[in-house]
Amino acid sequence: MGEYTGATADRSAAAAARPVAKWLKRLGLLPWAAPALLFMLCFAFYPLGYSLYISFFNYSLTDPTQTQEFAGLANYLKAFADPAFRVAALNSVLFVILAVGAQTVLGLAIAVLLNRDRPGTPLVRTLLLAPLTLTPIVVALVWRALYNADYGVVSYYLKALGVNVGRGPIGEPSTALLALVIVDVWQWTPLVALMLLAGLRSQSADLFEAAQIDGASGWQQFWCVALPLLRPILIVALLIRTMDVFKLFDSVFIVTGGGPGYATEVMNHYIFKTGLTFFDMGYAAAMSNLLLVLIGLFTAVYFRAIGQLGVTQ
């Protein structure tokens, strides 16, 4: 009796579930992606949309009336006319070119060196991770002390070598940006190196053997075989670092505060000051969107480069 009732219940439950199953099947993979989509909607698309919205308004958080006056494109035009923003944009682009360029060249060199199995190589690979494990704030504080013109180690050795450090690497307008580039290169070159090393390790030995049989020298093997195969990873590393360097904030905030003068003012630091020190949210949102466009432009250039080089596959 009991068994009979159970079987009936199972059948009716299965019958009831059939439309749900059908409905789920019709939706395909959407239900499985829904949590991630919801997350993106709440924490990426909504803030982005709101940022775009308030960029068209004069909106100051500390305005006692809390009025949001429609300003059209005024905040964007203000950014183009603002000398501080223009300098910050130029500094950001210069920083990206110098830092990402140096990280790519040095990272590639390190990856090639570590690609050969020699005694101690595994230890060096592990040690390479050390700068990556430090928080940028700690790195910035350490480098600030190292660069100090009066008691910093860097200045001490430069003086010992007979170099006139003047007000110190971060006190001179001509060297301050370069000093920050060095901090970024020190911390993030290992990431690029490890990414490229992973790419090199995944390349088939057969290709190099074939090249060797064809009479290719070591340099030719690297230039004509290894490097073209490495390009997709190189492009990804460039993309990641470019986006990251455009968002540079910590070292500028801690080490130089954007100075001396405008020497190290970068977009993200200027946007932070406008938005979170002066609470001029409309203008800060407009500048953030311009930064987004700038990063988008760089990304497009990289993807175009991939397409032209035929390495998308």
Binding site: L61, T62, P64, Q66, N148, A149, D150, G152, S155, V165, G166, R167, G168, I170, G171, E172, P173, T256, G257, G258, G259, P260, G261, Y262, K273, L276, T277, F278, F279
Partner: protein, 419 residues
């Protein structure tokens, strides 16, 4: 039997309902206050004394300590969002105008007037009421007042036969004489932003300058201010070479390590000067009031912190009880001993405190002629400070002349006032 049961039930329910308000008023727990404080020397005193207040009143105070920028951002987000996230905030003197004008803080004036005798109103230095006072209303109660003082290496000055300078020419001469043999006559903040802007403002005050004119409009490129910036930029020749990128920590280090012979600093730093664990000049440094320009009225810099009640706090009465307690003559001695700074005349003349902190006599002298508006407490101040932070830095690093820098600063500041 059923009737009896029903009658008893009704009676019990009636009694419970009738006694409910009474019981709730008796058993109502005392509120817990949330205080967000600046990470400064006095914040340690607040944390250590909060349990004493709880023992006396049953009101618990949770103290959260934050850095300057974080405190400001958190407070603004709380005020604008009307979240009532904290009941009490410590308030920097330069925030007073903005927070008062925007109505972020509860007006304490009626409570202060009501409890005037209990809080010993007249014992607080008149100038110190600028901490939290705005346009005739008191939005926050003074908590820790700082005097801008000249700290100097007494031993070296005495050995070289130099008296602590009283005038600007004496100051300049002393700085020059003291420089040499690995020593620097003075150290100042030169880093772009608040560090160099605030240090320049000390010099502006000394030279008789001001940020605003008598009409309340920017007067950044006035003759006195240009003179002050010229002097300030020149003095970097006698400061450690890296001083153009120094902020407060670096400046203090240069003085405490015995490298720099003089600095203008807030009096709250003197404890560290006298601490042998932190200072090489612990037994040989001293402070004095700032030198003054000839013909200029005697004005000494005043800064510091007050404590105010969030307008959206549901515990305003309890918060006021805490403010009254922590600023009362009864507990102030302990508060000051634990890291607080004086606000009352009775504190700078207290023999017990003077035995421990002998420089308080000089601090009291400075408070008597203090100017709490040398950094104007207006809502435009953060912008003005940022403008000056850039232009002063450009002048001291030789990228602009002092006159050009202040002309540019003036041009940028005027639009903030609708001009």
């Amino acid at each position: 039997m059923t009737v009896w049961r029903a009658t008893w039930l009704i009676l019990v329910v009636f009694l419970v309902v009738a006694l409910l308000p009474l019981s709730s008023s008796v058993a109502q727990p005392r509120p817990t206050l949330n205080l967000v404080s600046m990470s400064d020397r006095f914040s340690g005193a607040l944390t250590r004394m909060a349990p004493d207040f709880e023992r006396e009143t049953g009101i618990k105070v949770n103290v959260t300590i934050q850095s300057y920028g974080e405190l400001y951002s958190r407070a603004i987000a709380d005020f604008v969002g009307r979240t009532g996230g904290a009941d009490l905030y410590t308030v920097d003197i330069v925030w007073t105008g903005e927070w008062g004008e925007n109505g972020y803080l509860a007006d304490l004036t009626p409570m202060i007037q009501r409890d005037r005798a209990a809080i010993a109103y007249d014992d607080v230095f008149p100038a110190v009421w600028k901490l939290g006072g705005w346009q005739g209303k008191q939005y926050a109660f003074p908590l820790a007042a700082y005097a801008g003082v000249l700290a100097y290496n007494k031993k070296v000055l005495t050995d070289m036969g130099i008296k602590p300078p009283r005038s600007v020419p004496e100051f300049a001469t002393a700085i020059q004489k003291l420089t040499g043999d690995g020593r620097y006559g003075i150290v100042m903040n030169g880093a772009r932003g608040a560090p160099c802007a605030q240090d320049w403002m000390y010099h502006m005050l000394i030279q008789g300058g001001s940020i605003l004119d008598k009409d309340g409009l920017p007067a950044l490129n006035s003759t006195a201010n240009v003179r002050a910036l010229t002097f300030f930029a020149d003095m970097f020749k006698y400061a450690p070479p890296g001083a153009t990128s120094y902020a407060w920590g670096d400046r203090e280090l240069a003085f405490r390590s015995g490298t720099a012979m003089m600095q203008i600093a807030w009096s709250t730093g003197v404890r560290a000067h006298r601490d042998p664990a932190m200072s090489k000049v612990a037994t040989i440094s001293d402070i004095t009031t700032l030198p003054q320009a000839a013909g200029a009225p005697t004005r000494y810099p005043l800064g510091g912190w007050s404590i105010g009640i969030n307008r959206d706090s549901p515990n305003k009465q309890a918060a006021w009880e805490f403010i009254k307690w922590i600023t009362s003559q009864r507990v102030r001695r302990e508060f000051v001993r634990l890291g607080g700074e004086p606000i009352r005349r009775s504190e700078v003349s207290d023999p017990t405190l003077l035995a421990e902190f002998p420089w308080f006599a000089m601090v009291g002298k400075s408070f008597e002629n203090a100017d709490g508006d040398f950094r104007p407490r207006i809502r435009q101040y953060p912008r003005i400070q940022d403008i000056l932070g850039l232009e002063v830095n450009l002048a001291i690093t030789g990228q602009k002349s002092p006159k050009a820098a202040l002309d540019d600063a003036q041009a940028k500041a005027m639009p903030l006032f609708g001009r």
